[in-house]
Symmetry: C2
Subunit: 464 residues, 2 copies
């Protein structure tokens, strides 16, 4: 292990950058002890040096010229924290060409340009580290790539967007409306002024694309990931879900093989892992398709992920050797994200990260042979809520359409209409057994065309 310092340049010094700088400056002794060598902040590249920042930088560190970082032979690692994909891509490519390792928290960059960046890094014999890109302070990248390396992961369920989870928790726990919950999230600093990329599921889809590359070797473009957000979620559906024993969470999910045939989702079983599993029960899944989506999903209230409240992130992973494991923590924020960025810097200083990067061969095209399953083929249980005229025959029409598509009903909820209110449409909730998404959607299309159906059907997949 070399004993000379590992030199670091930060590109971008917003919230996360300031957090990284603080940890490097305030805990230098600790980091040096853990890494076996000093980790030294050499440069911080910013656009506006006059802007106030929650960190005091040593003299000579702040610069507006990124070439100061690239050209400095004492800089070993460039930490890209500017976000976006255009300038960030250039920063990363030029850093690699200048012989620097790269640490990034930029999921959109990885999801969109992973193949190009990782190829360039391999050719430059440098590493790209990105623990902070998914789930902030939760070490999910190491869990998937290193701790569970003996496993083929067969399912991933993730709460990967803290903003959405905060809004959904507020709606479920306190009965507030979507606009009010969003406004509160913005007031508390949990949501951006423009929250589009969070609430439409894009941010979670970028993160899922990164996880799917590690777990399945698939290079899913974010636009290949079926995606529904939480904007416009009706409190009525949260109430019906609760009545059925479920909680609605925005989940990023990937699942393969037999996990699919049981309806999506990882089961939170009480046991089954402590005792020796009989010989005959060890199955080696041979399924080669993986379903990916981001959607509001009804999770049983007893499921572990259903308990995750507020701005936390959590990921449940099912591996074919280990069974189910779960990881939870703060999904964003100055210091939690800095914790993951600095862990990557320590790994580079120790020399672990270089070996991990070389061995993993991510975005190299050498996948595990999985392909993304077309969304209409994906099998799931469904929650379906209609607004229907309160008259005879409607339920018969709806259940007939489902039967025509080969979909069985596992439950129906229709409350008696209040007295004297008989004329308006009433909500009707149908819960199905496992069905193919394409056939379910065809059924919904036919229902929406019924004269008795007063508004487009609302439906969500159901997990376990």
């Amino acid at each position: 292990m070399p004993s000379e310092p590992l030199g670091v340049a930060l590109v971008g010094c917003g919230t996360v950058g300031a957090g990284v700088a603080r940890v490097l400056l305030e805990h230098a002794d600790r980091l040096s002890r853990r890494a076996g060598r000093p980790i030294v902040l050499r440069r911080v590249v910013v656009r506006d040096p006059a802007k106030p920042r929650p960190v005091e930088l040593p003299p000579g560190v702040l610069t507006t010229d990124i070439r100061d970082a690239r050209a400095d032979p004492a800089v070993d690692v460039v930490v890209e924290l500017i976000g976006g994909t255009t300038a960030a891509r250039r920063v990363v490519l030029e850093a690699l060409e200048a012989g620097k390792h790269v640490v990034t928290a930029n999921k959109a960059l990885l999801a969109g340009h992973g193949a190009e960046l990782f190829d360039r890094a391999r050719r430059a014999d440098r590493a790209v580290c990105f623990e902070a890109a998914v789930a902030g302070g939760v070490p999910i990248i190491r869990a998937l790539g290193e701790s569970l390396a003996a496993n083929q992961v067969t399912a991933i369920q993730g709460i990967l967007n803290g903003t959405c989870n905060f809004i959904l928790s507020s709606m479920a726990d306190r009965g507030v409306s979507y606009p009010d919950a969003l406004a509160e999230a913005q007031r508390l600093g949990y949501a951006e002024a423009d929250p589009t990329l969070d609430v439409d599921g894009s941010d979670a889809a970028h993160k899922l694309a990164v996880l799917a590359q590690i777990a399945f070797g698939v290079a899913a473009r974010p636009d290949q990931i079926e995606r529904r957000g939480i904007a416009g979620l009706d409190p009525m559906d949260i109430r019906f879900a609760a009545e059925l024993g479920y909680t609605i969470k925005l989940l990023a999910e990937a699942w393969t093989g037999e996990m699919r045939n049981a309806g999506l989702g990882i089961r939170n079983e009480d046991s089954g892992s402590l005792s020796a599993i009989p010989h005959s029960e060890i199955r080696i899944p041979q399924f080669r398709t993986v379903a990916l989506h981001v959607a509001p999903v009804l999770l049983r209230r007893t499921a572990l992920l259903a308990q995750v409240r507020g701005a936390y992130n959590a990921v449940a992973l099912h591996g074919d050797v280990v069974g189910e494991t779960l990881y939870q923590g703060p999904g964003a924020g100055m210091l939690p994200t800095a914790s993951s960025v600095v862990a990557d810097l320590i790994d580079l200083a120790v020399g672990r990260a270089q070996r991990t990067f070389a061995a993993a061969r991510l975005w190299s095209g050498e996948g595990s042979g999985f392909v993304v399953e077309p969304s209409e083929r994906v099998r799931s249980r469904f929650y379906l809520r209609l607004l229907v005229a309160d008259r005879p025959g409607v339920l018969a029409d709806i259940t007939r359409i489902l039967a025509d598509e080969g979909i069985s009903v596992s439950g129906v909820v229709q409350h008696e209409a209040p007295e004297g209110d008989g004329a308006g449409p009433v909500p009707l909730v149908v819960v199905t057994h496992v069905a193919e998404t394409g056939r379910f959607r065809a059924a919904v299309g036919r229902m929406d065309a019924l004269p008795a159906v007063a508004a487009p059907a609302v439906f969500y997949p159901m997990g376990d």
Copy 2:
């Protein structure tokens, strides 16, 4: 990275050994891809080669002579899976001297002989890996040592014994007695025929000693860890805990500095991590004592760890940079434990483990300067349940004793005695604010001497 195979010898082929052999044999392609080189099972050393095993070994692999493993130059790693400490210690020392790396799942060995083994490994320039030693399939060793390396961990709360958690879940969820829950656990294979080391907290204390070494650099001998088990836990206390909104879990806990002054426990807060934390709130704790114990603890029913049911293990970690993170999964069993053992083998094949081992300098005496806090100094809230005569003045006597010791009461529960049953003693529950354990115990001693107190007081610490 070398491309020649990594040769493995298993010493012991019980449940976990058979699982490791199966994964190595059945998933050889996968492991070779992940490690960048083949991982080959060269030897399996057993006492009785005729014993039936749930794995079919290739010819020539099985042997009864450990020297076959040590002397084989094609063996790079010895995996110690025989358990116990006497023979296991010899196996590990001799393997290191023969120039082999060591992987072990043996927490008792590490807790009792860590300093000797790690010193020998460092002198032999070999690595000792032990992900499987704590919490089975949960990658808590990597989380503490690598993923959270930027942090000083300030608190650990762990459900580290699946047998105890299964028994407590059965008692709480189905109201069964301790002996019945234990018998069921034995019937289902979750508890050994002799469950002493599980139910008396020894197993959890060994695991806590290992975690405390990584997190705090303290080499706590298991007998230094204050330890109470679950044998004899009264269903009455589980019911009172539930009435107060708590669940009783056997927890292995370590906490330091200001975490202590708020009563033990990691708070399951809804938020606080997503937004930028203001500059002034970043504190660098300078506390240098760490409290360690294993005990049944009352956890708020909404706490994440309170939701962990059955034979699962889970660990909540609080780090001064990241905040709270949580890790959960199967705590034992053939395949979950094999998942962790094989992850260590992959790390050795990739070359990561050697660097991690050299950098971490565990059990080297170079701690972070923490010392174990004497148990009587440890501060906590307490649940206290007495059986008292139902007559005037008893509550006054008890609260007076607490007041004398400077302990404030935060709640009292005494139910009206059933009609016609007034003569017998009645349960009285007192919940305290944060108090020093020594003073609380002194108060309990005085209460036990009161004529109105019919049986020794029962008390448990309370977490958050």
